[in-house]
Amino acid sequence: MMEGLMSEQMYIADKDYRVPSGCGVSGIMNEAGERFSGEAIMCSIALMRERSNGLGGGFAAYGIYPDLADYYAFHLMYETDEAKRQTDEYLRAYYTIMHDEPIPTRKIKVISQSPLLWRYFLKPREDVLAKNPRLSEQDLVVQTAMYISGKIKDALVASSGKNMGIFKGVGFPEDIGEFYRLEEYRGYIWTAHGRFPTNSVAWWGGAHPFGLLDWSVVHNGEISSYGINRRYLQNFNYSCSFFTDTEVITYLFDLLIRKHELPFEIVAKILAAPLWADIERMPEEEKEFYQSLRIVYGSALLNGPFGVIVANSQTMLGLNDRLKLRPLVAARWGDFIYIASEESAIRQICPQPDRVWMPRAGEPILGRMRRNNLAKDPLSQEATAEVFEAGREEEGL
């Protein structure tokens, strides 16, 4: 729609200017941990082509590197060889590089140029961790990702979790998927994003999903509380170098769930908090709880219209803003849970789900790896227990 109006001269990249966007999102999870090809998610997001404009698409995939599942998989985007040289040097100072290689791609007509795409499988060095007893492995990975994306010119970390990866770029999502040969991967969670940026040129690093550790976020909408959220996160040493809404959402999840060890249900009520008028009508105990939540975590509230799908290696969560200003539909079919901007994007890959519903504003849709499958999963030891204690709740209407 805007192609005729867009020109690189007129607009600045969104790394220099924050961008609201209207987009399409889709996510599929198999809660039994069965892995399936990337074809399904490509098919789903492709159906919502009208929600993208070819200026950004991407995928997050979980369970794709089972043979290297013990190592942090770093997906890197380089604009120059020098950026790779500096990054390699930096990584070697903190990690043993167990394996590294170019991310396999195929030549396709519609994607004429891409950055240098490289993946590393990293093991934090014992001596580094021994020297910094207060630094956890995961904190080290966060620091590394922030340093490379923020300080090394022309280098960006697309993802940095174990047994997962983010594949993204400038193009329609189905083309990006074809470019990265995603049908050749098998994962148990897949999320996808088709981008429709409305006031800037697109760039590879600015595409969704955004990732940190094993977090990935795809997002449709605009976070008008960006400035408050960003300042809040800075207090906890998160530096927002991408200047995107998706980045602050990712860091908020990392802070509230990994660091503060809150369950997803509570985090949903912090990010999409009930309105004060609703809290006022709650029974006394509940009222006190929600009041405290809003007071303690007021700066983590996400304002503005959004529909997001957040995932980590054990969970997929869909969440709308509290006034329901963006669409999200959910469905269940056997062990599968689906979340998408449109019902048709689900039915395209699952024509007859057991149940389809539109979640209420601020009500999280949660897909969780089943407990009995955790033992088989190489990541089980790292799973924070309390997140999985809570039984699976029945979703809304």
Binding site: L47, D278, R281, K324, P327, E342, E343, R347, M358
Partner: protein, 251 residues
Amino acid sequence: MNAAKVVNINAQGIYYRELNESIHQAVRNGQKEIILEQVNGQRYIADGLSGKDVKITIHGTAGNDLAAFMDGPTIEIFGNAQDGIGNTMNAGKIIVHGDAGDIVGHSMRGGKIFIQGNVGYRVGIHMKAYQDLYPVIIVGGCAQDYLGEYMAGGLIIVLGMNNNGSWPIVGDYCGTGMHGGVMYIRGEVKDFQLGKEVKIFELDSKDKKNLELYVREYAQDFSLNAEEIIKERFFKLIPYTHRPYGKLYAY
């Protein structure tokens, strides 16, 4: 043109532009009945389409902005409808044998939208009526928040059927900014659920006649018993001022 009586189109995998062009072409050729099979999310079906005697039947999931600016035809959907159906619709009828998404009947100016199941947020936002143009939305199930937001005219009926009582019949902020038109709700609505501009009233005899007229038509479309529906207690929601913002902006 020697046209067959019914045109069947299999929409599977067909891009929305091509599908809609086929529909418009069929109507231009004088076709009166079109059946679309395997629809899945195609947008803008029957947008701007005219012709009182045109009937379109859809099997599948109807995409966003179905029947926007439509002026006359009848659309019957066997499946769910996504967001924004009947956007700025002028005349005609949409019958949905399933649920519908957000902003059903956005800025609707005339015609009818009958939905068997539940609907999403902001249904009937900015509906309006003028002279003999009188838009009507009937929801068989429940509606979410902001029902009839900024409503300026027309009628919304919510029946709350197939609800086990665990769900409020309408969401919160119902009728926020409403300054015209009327809603009939089949069941209790609490004061806190209402926008500041709306008040709850009993139905008078004129309301009852109006309600019965449309519920009978609805019951017929979905093969339901109209008496069973009407015998329950309804409440009327109307704005108590026609100029809700008069005090704010006028001086």
